[in-house]
C-alpha cells in the first residue's frame, strides 16, 4: 500500500472521482442558490438604502455593515450551532447556503448601490417630466441601466463565493473539500484528493473570470 508520500498514485485519483463528482454537484448547488440569494437580497438592501425614511435606512445599514464586517466562518458557526438553541434548525446544506448568500448579499448591495448612483440624474428628471410612477421609474428606467453596468462586478463576487464554499466543510456540508478530507482520512492519501479539488477550483474559476472580462467589455460602454 502506498503511504501517500512516495509518488503520485493515479489509482487513488480514480478511487476518489465518484466522490469528487458528488462533491462538485453540492458545491455548484450551493454556489447557484447562494448567488441567487445574494443577488435578490442585495437588491433589497440597495433599495432600502434609498428608502424615504431613516427608520428603514438605519437598521438596514447597521445590519448589513455588521454582516459584512464579521467573518463568514463565524456566521456559519452561529447559524449552525447557536440558532438551534432557539429551535431554529436546518440541515447543514441549507444553513450553509443561506449563510453564504446572506454574507455576499451585503457585498452585492454595495455593487447595486454604486450602479444605481451611476445612472445620470437626467434619467430621473426625464422620468419625472413624463410623470412616470415611482415603481415604473425604478423598474423600467433606473434598474435596467444600473444592473447592466454591475453584471461584471456581480460575477466577480460569484467567483469569490465559489472560493468561499469550502468554508461550509466546517459545518459538515459534503462539498468538494469535505469529500476530499473524508477520502483522505480513509486512505491517508491527502496529496491526490486535495490536488484534484484544487485543480477543479482553478478549472472553474479561471475560465469564469476570463468570461467575465469578455462580458465586461461588451456591457460597459
Amino acid at each position: 500500500m502506498n503511504n501517500g508520500t512516495d509518488k503520485w498514485d493515479w489509482g487513488a485519483v480514480s478511487d476518489f472521482m465518484p466522490h469528487f463528482w458528488d462533491g462538485l454537484l453540492i458545491t455548484l448547488q450551493v454556489l447557484a442558490l447562494g448567488s441567487l440569494i445574494s443577488f435578490g437580497l442585495g437588491l433589497v438592501w440597495a433599495l432600502a438604502f434609498r428608502a424615504p425614511t431613516r427608520f428603514i435606512r438605519w437598521p438596514v445599514g447597521i445590519v448589513t455593515e455588521f454582516i459584512r464586517n464579521t467573518p463568514l466562518l463565524v456566521q456559519l458557526f452561529f447559524l449552525y450551532f447557536v440558532l438551534p438553541e432557539w429551535d431554529i434548525q436546518y440541515s447543514a446544506m441549507t444553513t450553509g447556503t443561506i449563510a453564504i448568500g446572506l454574507h455576499y448579499s451585503t457585498y452585492t448591495a454595495q455593487v447595486y448601490r454604486a450602479g444605481i448612483e451611476a445612472v445620470p440624474v437626467g434619467q430621473w428628471e426625464a422620468a419625472k417630466a413624463l410623470s412616470l410612477s415611482y415603481t415604473r421609474t425604478w423598474t423600467a428606467v433606473i434598474l435596467p441601466q444600473a444592473i447592466r453596468r454591475v453584471i461584471p462586478a456581480l460575477g466577480n463576487y460569484v467567483i469569490a463565493m465559489l472560493k468561499d464554499t469550502p468554508l461550509l466543510a466546517s459545518i459538515g456540508v459534503l462539498e468538494l473539500l469535505q469529500r476530499s478530507r473524508l477520502e483522505a482520512a480513509q486512505t491517508f492519501q491527502y496529496t491526490e484528493a486535495l490536488t484534484v479539488v484544487g485543480v477543479a477550483f482553478i478549472l472553474i474559476a479561471y475560465p469564469s473570470s476570463l468570461l467575465l472580462r469578455a462580458l465586461e467589455r461588451r456591457l460597459v460602454r
Binding site: Q123, A129, L130
Partner: protein, 271 residues
C-alpha cells in the same frame, strides 16, 4: 401629421382662449446663499410661445425646472391652469402639495432637456410609448400609432427600432421632442435644447420646433440662445436679469427697440 393641430385635442383644458395658463406669484428660489429668483411675478397666456432670454445665471432654467417640479420654490406660489403646482388647498389653507397632487398637475407639462435624457435601455419607439401607456393608460397599439405619427413629424419615422445611442445628437433631441409631445401636454418647456448639439445639427431641431410652434396651439416656454429662432416663434419675450423680469414684450419690440439698458447690452453681446 404636418399642419396637424390635434396635438392638444385630448387636453383636460382645451380652451386656447388666451386666458392665463401659468402664473408665478412672488416666487423666491435660493441655492444656498445665492438668490436665483427674487420675488418673481409673471404670467403666460395659454397658447402663447414665450422665450426667456438673459445672461447665464439669471434664473431662466430655474423657472423651467420649477414648472416641471424638478425643484420646489422656497417662497411664493406657481399656478398652472388655475391649479396650484406645489401647493394645494386644504380646509381653506394653502399647504405644500402631496406627491399625488403634484403628479396630477405635472401631467399637463412636458419638458425637453439640453442633454436629451432619452432612456438608453429602450428603443426609440418605447421611449415615446412608455409614459402614454403606463401613465395615461393608452393601449399599446394606440400609443405606438401616436408615437409613429410624432416620429414622422420630427422626420425620424424610420428609426423606431434604433437605440438612442445609435442616433446623432440632433436625432436624439428630435426623439425627445416627440416623447414630450406624446403626453399631449398643455405646456412644453424647452431648456436650451440646441446647446449640446454640434452646430450643423441645430437647424434640424429648430425646424421641427418651428413647425410645432406654427401648427399647434401648445403653450411653449423656451430658454434659448438662438435669437433668430426666438424671434421667429415668440409671441412674447421676457428679459431676465438677476432673478427678475426686467423687460417683456413682443419679439419685435424686444429685438428692435429694447427699452432697458441691460437688454440692449445683452442683445448686442449675443446678436
Amino acid at each position: 401629421m404636418s399642419a396637424d393641430t390635434n396635438l392638444t385635442k385630448d387636453q383636460p383644458n382645451p380652451a386656447v382662449d388666451g386666458s392665463e395658463l401659468i402664473r408665478f406669484d412672488k416666487v423666491v428660489k435660493r441655492f444656498g446663499s445665492n438668490t436665483v429668483l427674487d420675488e418673481l411675478d409673471f404670467s403666460v397666456s395659454s397658447g402663447k410661445h414665450v422665450t426667456l432670454i438673459g445672461p447665464s445665471g439669471s434664473g431662466k432654467t430655474t423657472i423651467l425646472r420649477l414648472l416641471m417640479t424638478l425643484i420646489k420654490p422656497d417662497e411664493g406660489t406657481i399656478k398652472v391652469g388655475g391649479e396650484y403646482l406645489t401647493h394645494e388647498q386644504k380646509n381653506g389653507k394653502l399647504v405644500p402639495a402631496g406627491e399625488k397632487h403634484v403628479r396630477e398637475v405635472r401631467k399637463n407639462i412636458g419638458m425637453v432637456f439640453q442633454q436629451f435624457n432619452l432612456f438608453p435601455n429602450m428603443k426609440v419607439l418605447r421611449n415615446i410609448t412608455e409614459a402614454p401607456v403606463t401613465v395615461l393608460g393608452l393601449s399599446k397599439d394606440e400609443a405606438e400609432q401616436r408615437a409613429r405619427e410624432l416620429l414622422d413629424l420630427v422626420g425620424l419615422g424610420d428609426r423606431c427600432d434604433s437605440y438612442p445611442t445609435q442616433l446623432s445628437g440632433g436625432q436624439q433631441q428630435r426623439v425627445a421632442i416627440a416623447r414630450a409631445l406624446a403626453m399631449r401636454p398643455q405646456v412644453l418647456l424647452l431648456d436650451e435644447v440646441t446647446s449640446a448639439l454640434d452646430p450643423e445639427l441645430v437647424a434640424g431641431v429648430l425646424d421641427v420646433l418651428r413647425d410645432i410652434a406654427h401648427t399647434t396651439d401648445i403653450t411653449m416656454l423656451c430658454v434659448t440662445h438662438e435669437m433668430n429662432f426666438a424671434r421667429d416663434i415668440s409671441d412674447q419675450v421676457l428679459m431676465f436679469d438677476a432673478g427678475r423680469v426686467i423687460e417683456s414684450g413682443s419679439a419685435e419690440k424686444i429685438f428692435t427697440e429694447p427699452e432697458h439698458e441691460r437688454t440692449r447690452e445683452f442683445l448686442s453681446a449675443v446678436l
